[in-house]
Amino acid sequence: MLRLDNKKGQGIQFNWIYVVLAGAIILGFFSWFIVRYIDLQNTKLDAKVARNIDSNLLALKSASQFKPVIDLGDSFDFDFFCDSVTVNSKYTQKINDKIIFSSGHITKTRNLYVWTYGLDAGFFVDNLLYIIDPKQKYYLVYDKDKDFVQTLYDRMPNGLYDNVFISDYSGASLSPVGKNKFILFFEPSREQLEILSSKGKVVRIEPKSSGQITFYDLGTASVDSFFGYGLLYGAVFSDSKEQYGCSKKRALDKLNLLSNIYYTKARNLAKISRNPLCDYNTISNLLKSLSESSRNGDISGVTKSIDPLAYENRRLYDLSCEGVF
């Protein structure tokens, strides 16, 4: 009798073990499913936001303007590089046809500022897009060249004046620690560099319409170059030398393409022109040289071509010839 009771008791125990195990497996499966589903929905939302940004940038690219806010509806993390944007470190959207300079990693924001500014090289090249983190502060720091820096500041839209400040070194050195970037228009001393680097990123730009940019990062200095205000502002709003360099290369590729297009047009105009005064050889050679300089990344070559090109084109118009651009 006793043995029979034991077996019955064991049977009930096994039953309970079986129920608990089966229940745990089913619960575990549904929990896994719910987590994956939520993840999938979040990824879909990230994709939607990334595409929304791409569409907004396409619309903003059409003209020089300032869009105070792209309102995203909720907070997201962004990683901008020169040809893509990644949302919440999950979904990456390619930004193929736009030249962007941005703050790099932007955390927990529901707004983005976008400023569009044209790049000119004797002729219009493209609209550059500067994507700005509303929480980032930019300090344009002057020493002797206050006028130049003031001109740069005055060209910016009013909506950026909560984020961009103009000051001398003593004012900049008192800025609070935070998401800062210091753009110096003079050669800093070691001590000045150390103090500012402890408060944010530091970049030095030559106060000219074309010249060198020095990116200071973790004690090292790396150099790049710029021409025109478009690329100068690009250096102001870029997060790093890599990002600036990549966007600058895209701008130069575009310049190369446009130079070739205008060269082809100039050769065609030379063939069909009935006016003996309309000599397109000089402008064709200048465009060829500009194309080569931009292809090789030779900024000084590009800068040297800009004024003569504009002059030659104007000269053609003055002679009642068909202008190239």
């Binding site: 049977g11 089966a22 499913f33 999938l40 879909k44 994709a47 939607k48 595409r51 569409s55 396409l58 059409s62 390619k94 193929n96 046809d97 000119d120 004797g122 002729f123 219009f124 090249v125 493209d126 575009k254 393409l257 446009l258 070739n260 297009i261 205008y262 082809t264 047009k265 065609n268 105009l269 069909i272 504009a310 084109n313 104007r314 118009y317 068909e322 202008g323 651009f325």
Partner: protein, 155 residues
């Protein structure tokens, strides 16, 4: 008899679990297919949107837009469009599989239509066409023409 009862119960349990699993698998498969279709539909809607926006953004491209003394004007430069067609093959990431053609409509012109961009996939399941009138500047005759920009998207 108790043994038989026990065996019957075990068989019953196995059957229940089996049927439950089948129903669960069917349900998951249906849900998975629905989710994939919904993602594909989202992607398709986005591609559609990009295609429709393209017809307004292409005439604004500096590669073909008119420029007079460095200032851009709202027209397409015929010479630039012809020159751009030589380099447009590098624009696949932007235009994808599509055909962009500029027709000169009025006044009549000796110019053939300008094939600005063309890339067709090996197999075309479907194509979408959209067009818009544009102002075209002809530098050869220094005059303006009415043109039609036609954008064909291949799927």
């Amino acid at each position: 008899m108790n043994n038989k009862k026990g065996q019957l119960q075990i068989q019953e349990t196995i059957l229940v679990i089996f049927i439950f699993t089948i129903i669960l698998l069917i349900g998951l498969t249906v849900f998975y297919r629905y989710t994939i279709d919904s993602i594909r539909a989202d992607q398709e809607r986005y591609e559609d949107f990009k295609f429709k926006v393209g017809i307004s953004s292409i005439p604004s491209m500096s590669e073909i837009k008119c420029s007079f003394l460095g200032e851009q004007k709202e027209c397409i430069d015929l010479d630039k469009a012809i020159a751009f067609s030589i380099y447009s093959k590098d624009y696949f990431s932007l235009f994808g599989y599509s055909n962009i053609t500029l027709y000169l409509v009025y006044p009549g012109s000796v110019h053939k239509p300008v094939l600005i961009y063309y890339r067709k996939p090996a197999v075309v399941r479907q194509s979408q066409i959209i067009s818009t009138p544009v102002l075209v500047y002809d530098p050869e005759y220094a005059n303006y023409k009415i043109g039609k920009l036609v954008l064909v998207r291949y799927k």
